[in-house]
Assembly symmetry: C2
Homo-oligomer: 327 residues x 2
């Protein structure tokens, strides 16, 4: 198996719909017109996925963490470039499995492969690294930036929070769950759902948005800091799945458990702000996008992000989320 | 040192000229209009650079291997996205050194940072991986594709071949060189020169082009295969530096030495084809671009690439170049 056979036989079919990709037979691709929303995220074995995760799920996670960035901007995905750094001695079957994952989500999200690079570690212990650069079309109303929230804005989040983090704990056997809960939590870790429909639906009136990857509190802090504000989150209003709710109920300290849920990360939900005059618009957008949206707090003068208990007192949070340079 | 401080303090200044980069304070960047030529290459410690190479040189090599792809297409570089996967426990000084390298070549090649991702291995032995996605403006005459050579076309290469491979041998102490030769060869390994001027100058009449990264013979094979032809290279006409010429002269078997030079890779010169009626245009373009261009062979009916001795007999070549999945 050689690099060039793999590109021709395994990856080129994924570029069949992209005219400017030259069937992956060139050093570069030609993409038409713009403007584009572009984003580039890397995922690393042992950091963003488990080294033994099946490669089709890894490929789909790579796509989805990038698509999630486009979703937060309200952009419609178009296509992507891919760079793979495989472990030394990777088998063709593993690369084919990865490509099957890409193919499945290409169909689901209507994107094409434009080009990229595939290589392998020479060092035996080198962990797999995958990066993608995604291109999207900005929404007609203009992209929802991270900056733009106003004091007094409501703070919303899509879907549920905490499942992916609990899924990782389940996969690592750090926590016990029922078989059904484990399966659903693990799936949320492996396959986040990029919130493209709701991201596009709120583009007209959301004042700022970010996708939740580092943890709800950490990303609320990023959102707040971008606009020189403070994000206050009501802990009890954070949306949870049945499985996560059951886990919280099993913990001795309920507030600590809620703080954990809000710190795990990997949720890939959209956290956004909107003026309180727009509550009806949020409800309509959520319905149109068939996506749950929860109002979880508000933006105030101040700095950073705080998790509040039912009496409005700040809950201590051990970690403000995952910092990839600290590990 | 945290991920977000590093982005704000070290990388954000590199994006100061790019309006749509939002000062790297967003999940995505907005880029205007198009069309774009896009390319994405990864470099890996232990594969594409030496683990002890200074990070400013690594950063500049990352930029240059990508810029070289744009050069082969005749495109004018505009900007790039960056993803860094650092070794566990990376020091802030190392990241700053990397950013200084980026900054230096951003000035030289007039490109801006649009955005990206920075993360680190959790596994102690994880080799550093860097990938960049470069955006270029296609030349008015249209991009020079890899496909398009005609039987009878001349085959040309820019600059000199073999220096980078010998530089790597010098750095690894596999071969001895004079101090002066070692320095110049090592610099060619660390800092390839993307041939942007000549790439743009030939865009009107070159029928096909590729940059030489896997080795002259291997990449001639890729160029030939794209058009269903055979590339024939006259070994003695391959341009060599004084240092590489001296190395060839020291080898017992001259033809084997020439085959080695044509197989090392990492040259990042442009290999291109043009009709023989265009020889004068090639000369004019070379002069305008202040770049040496050598005619080294021609395209014929057949398949693959062959290195010929002065009597037109094929020279045996051990390896057809570097295959990144075989190592």
């Amino acid at each position: 198996m050689g690099e060039f056979d793999i590109i021709r036989e395994v990856f080129a079919p994924l570029a069949a719909d992209a005219d400017g990709a030259f069937g992956l037979g060139d050093d570069a691709a030609l993409i038409d017109n713009g403007p584009f929303v572009v984003t580039k995220d890397a995922i690393v074995a042992g950091v963003h996925f488990l080294p033994k995760d099946p490669y089709d799920l890894v490929a789909r996670k790579l796509m989805r963490v990038n698509l999630s960035d486009l979703a937060a901007k309200g952009a419609r995905p178009i296509g992507y470039l891919l760079a793979c750094v495989w472990p030394a001695g990777v088998k063709r079957e593993q690369i084919e499995l990865f490509a099957r994952g890409l193919n499945e989500d290409q169909g689901r999200f209507r994107v094409s492969l434009f080009g990229g690079d595939t290589t392998a570690h020479l060092q035996k212990t080198g962990p797999a690294v995958f990066t993608a650069t995604f291109f999207g079309a900005p929404p007609r109303q203009g992209v929802t930036a991270r900056v733009g929230a106003q004091a007094g804005d409501d703070l919303y989040v899509t879907g549920v929070i905490g499942d992916a983090g609990l899924g990782l704990k389940a996969l690592r056997r750090e926590e016990k769950f029922t078989t059904v809960d484990k399966a659903s939590l693990a799936m949320r870790y492996h396959l986040p759902e990029p919130r493209l429909s709701i991201g596009a639906a709120i583009a007209g009136f959301a004042t700022a948005a970010i996708d939740v990857s580092d943890g709800l509190i950490a990303d609320a802090g990023h959102l707040a800091r971008a606009s020189g504000l403070r994000a206050e989150i009501d802990a009890v209003s954070i949306p949870r799945s049945t499985a996560a709710g059951a886990w919280v109920a099993r913990q001795q300290n309920r507030w600590k458990a809620l703080a954990d849920v809000a710190s795990f990360g990997d949720d890939y939900e959209i956290l956004f702000t909107a003026p309180s005059a727009m509550r009806r618009s949020v409800t309509v957008a959520a319905k149109a996008a068939k996506t749950e949206v929860s109002r979880i707090g508000s933006m105030t003068r101040g700095e950073g992000a705080a998790l509040l208990d039912e009496n409005g007192r700040e809950i201590a949070v051990r970690s403000a989320g995952f910092d990839h340079l600290k590990g």
